[in-house]
Symmetry: C2
């Protein structure tokens, strides 16, 4: 049992500042819980006897039942009093959504100090303040105070998100939802007066529903660098960590400093630390999800030798460029494999690497090449381009690609097109074959599988 369990799996939750008033943060959060939370829900607001039909109490202390988790959405100056009530009540965890703390100046910083003292004394865990808090697709905890019509919630899934920016966490969930990207957990920790990135990372390490941890970070607190690296090195033994760093350039660092209180620091130092920790760095948020898709569905690669298999020559060339630029190899095939392929493929197919099945490619040509190459020790990963505009290809190609996963090597697919293509892509992704719409994105996903394989071997 971890002391963070209370944030993700509380038996009972009290929302301090719950209100029936439409549009208010205290209403959105309370409604989220009412609609989705499976445990006991209680309102705290002296103005009401009930909120949306749920009993409301003047203070936490007036609640007859036990309270595991308190969610606080009242103005900053009143928060320390509520934290004291929570201590008296025996509340185990608090998510303090309210802003107006250290991010606004000295008065706010003092309020934070006061809270810190109380929670330390009484052993209460806190996420926040100044945050969106916690989203858990499994238990129904959802303190993200943006209504569903503005911020859709994604399907359940193997990704956990830790974000220093609340708005960005909201963007990620909303963006992921229509794309069917599964997210199980997300935390926006705000000013992190207690629970921080490091502890969350370790928590998700033990969570069996999580297969990849995605982090957006602008800056660590002073002196936390080494601790962060050490924690990450442990975590990546069992699951990959992907990071997007905000504040890489001079002006970017300045922008980050004005936006969060944290010091963004020199990017070069962060970069070196990430590498040392075995953390995979993303260049943007689409890239973050692209790589996560591969890492949550495919095994890490045992080497960097990639087979490029294509039915469109140009796409094969682009994939080769992208792979080589990322430091991956597209090795020439041995004469042994080449002659095997020459025997079984039509003479106009181009048998080298990329293998070009050309514009009259059939499903079984894919099978022939995948079997001959992935069963050998010449190739570590396959990048399969299947341009479905080719009329001789059918849905059967899905089965052949899926069957080839039996060789235990990662397979990544690239296909770009309209509805016909997207239908096939959806079917592939449903059986855990990651599909990308461009050779460059597929190559980057392969890079992540290779990097993670290398990092894992190293630690």
């Amino acid at each position: 049992m971890s002391s963070l369990d209370v944030f993700f799996n509380p038996k009972s939750v009290a929302v301090v500042g719950a209100t029936p008033k439409p549009g208010k943060v205290g209403r959105v959060i309370f409604e989220n819980f009412k609609n989705k939370f499976k445990g006991k829900l209680i309102a705290v607001n002296p103005k009401y006897k009930d909120v949306l039909g749920v009993p409301s109490y003047p203070t936490l202390k007036d609640i007859p039942e036990d309270v595991d988790l308190g969610v606080i959405v009242i103005p900053a100056p009143s928060v320390p009093k509520v934290v004291r009530d929570a201590a008296e009540k025996g509340v185990k965890g608090l998510i303090i959504i309210s802003g107006g703390f250290s991010e606004t100046g000295e008065a706010g910083r003092k309020l934070e100090e006061e809270i810190k003292k109380i929670i330390k004394e009484h052993n209460i865990r806190v996420i926040g303040p100044n945050c969106l808090g916690v989203y858990d697709a499994y238990s129904g905890v959802d303190t993200f105070f943006l209504p569903e019509e503005r911020m859709r919630r994604p399907p359940k899934g193997a990704i956990a998100i830790i974000s220093q920016s609340g708005a960005f966490a909201a963007t990620l969930l909303d963006w992921a939802a229509p794309r069917g990207i599964g997210i199980g957990k997300a935390v926006s920790y705000g000013n992190k007066i207690d629970v921080d990135d490091i502890e969350l990372m370790r928590y998700f390490e033990k969570d069996p529903t999580v297969k990849a941890i995605l982090i957006y970070i602008e800056g660590l607190k002073k002196g936390q660098g080494l601790k962060f690296v050490e924690a990450a090195r442990e975590v990546i033994k069992s699951k990959p960590i992907l990071i997007l760093k905000g504040g890489k350039t001079k002006r970017g660092v300045e922008a980050a400093a004005s936006h969060t209180a944290a010091l963004a620091g020199t990017y070069e130092l962060y970069k070196a630390a990430f590498r040392q920790a075995g953390i995979i760095e993303a260049s943007g948020f689409e890239d973050l999800f692209d790589m996560a898709k591969a890492l949550t569905t495919q095994p890490p690669a045992q080497g960097n030798r990639v087979l490029v298999l294509t039915d469109a020559g140009g796409m094969g060339v682009m994939a080769t460029d992208a792979l080589e630029n990322l430091g991956l190899e597209v090795p020439e095939l041995s004469n042994k494999i080449k002659s095997q392929l020459r025997e079984r493929l039509p003479p106009h197919c181009i048998i080298r690497n990329p293998v070009d099945l050309t514009g009259d490619a059939t499903d079984d040509r894919y099978k022939i090449v995948l079997d001959a190459t992935l069963s050998s020790d010449e190739i570590d990963i396959a990048l399969v381009i299947a341009q479905m505009q080719v009329p001789t290809l059918s849905e059967k190609v899905i089965n052949y690609i899926c069957e080839a996963t039996k060789y235990g090597k990662p397979i990544v697919v690239c296909m770009a097109g309209s509805e016909f293509t997207e239908e096939i892509a959806k079917k592939m992704e449903a059986i855990n074959i990651p599909v990308y719409s461009s050779p460059e994105r597929a190559a980057k996903a392969i890079w992540a599988l290779y990097k993670y394989g290398m990092y894992k071997t190293r630690v």
Copy 2:
């Protein structure tokens, strides 16, 4: 009048090899013309008296009417005979779809030489052989032999595509269609025994429907480099050229060489040539379209000083990083503008560059900042991030952003999210405001607007 007009606007077209047999290339092409071509259509096939109800003749010479354009879809060895017939008939242009020429070896090369001799003698223009040929959304010329259910055709629009890879041209059209990206013309020229990239580029320069020229190229023919650069320098005076080069790495060049006959050559030389020519290089095909979207809707930028305006701090940081990494500036605002903004924005807004309107941003705050900055001479371009998860934002923000185009400076928008966001994005794009789903993509579009502005000034 250009001699290439016959490929895009023929009065009459004869398809040599037209057939009613389902699934055959000669059927798909003939049907394309039958369904969409506005001029006179004729079939040539000795086996039939008519094809799909259209009269068929044994040879081109048997056709009683004039023939502007011949489309040839018969096996390579029979092609020279048809070209001779075309010469006799007075056909002005030929699109030779058939493969089996120089790309297959010596015998094919000889066939090509024979054809070259005839067309030179009789002044016939040829696209191909070994190509998909021509797609013209306006006239209905469409020799792309992939049926609509496999390769959708995009809406009419300001983009023209020239591609050395046929399959890739097909991918681009199919991919663009469901995304509503407007493409007016596309040419896959195959072995380019006559019409080449250079001539097509010059042709599209004069075409008033074309606002941007997109090129996929693996290699120029020997000795064509200088001519290519000179032509491009002329063209970019009136419209931007965007290029995607296949074959940038050692293995990529080798793959290109095995796939097209052309020599891919050293990428560094191409890169230098593109820069000298004022051609904007793309890193992948999504990037190609991203940049084209900005260049076909916004004026080129007169400088590199970018305003970043955001309602989500983290996204502002990422945009700043992306811009700086591309060599653009995100300059500090003058005290004059800052105090103007301080007077008119709430005190918790962060007034620097990026300007952060924060999570309770309203539509009119966007207007206030855009007016104060774009009317000044401190800023050349605006990158506007509007995360619509913020419940206080409405559709009105569209109008304010659109109004700000009156300052004559390019505006690029970034918003990421689900259906609500995408609806707003669609409305913006309908009034020619380019919208991108990530800060990095928006930054790249801005880079293209800046580059084109600089190139235009230089030539």
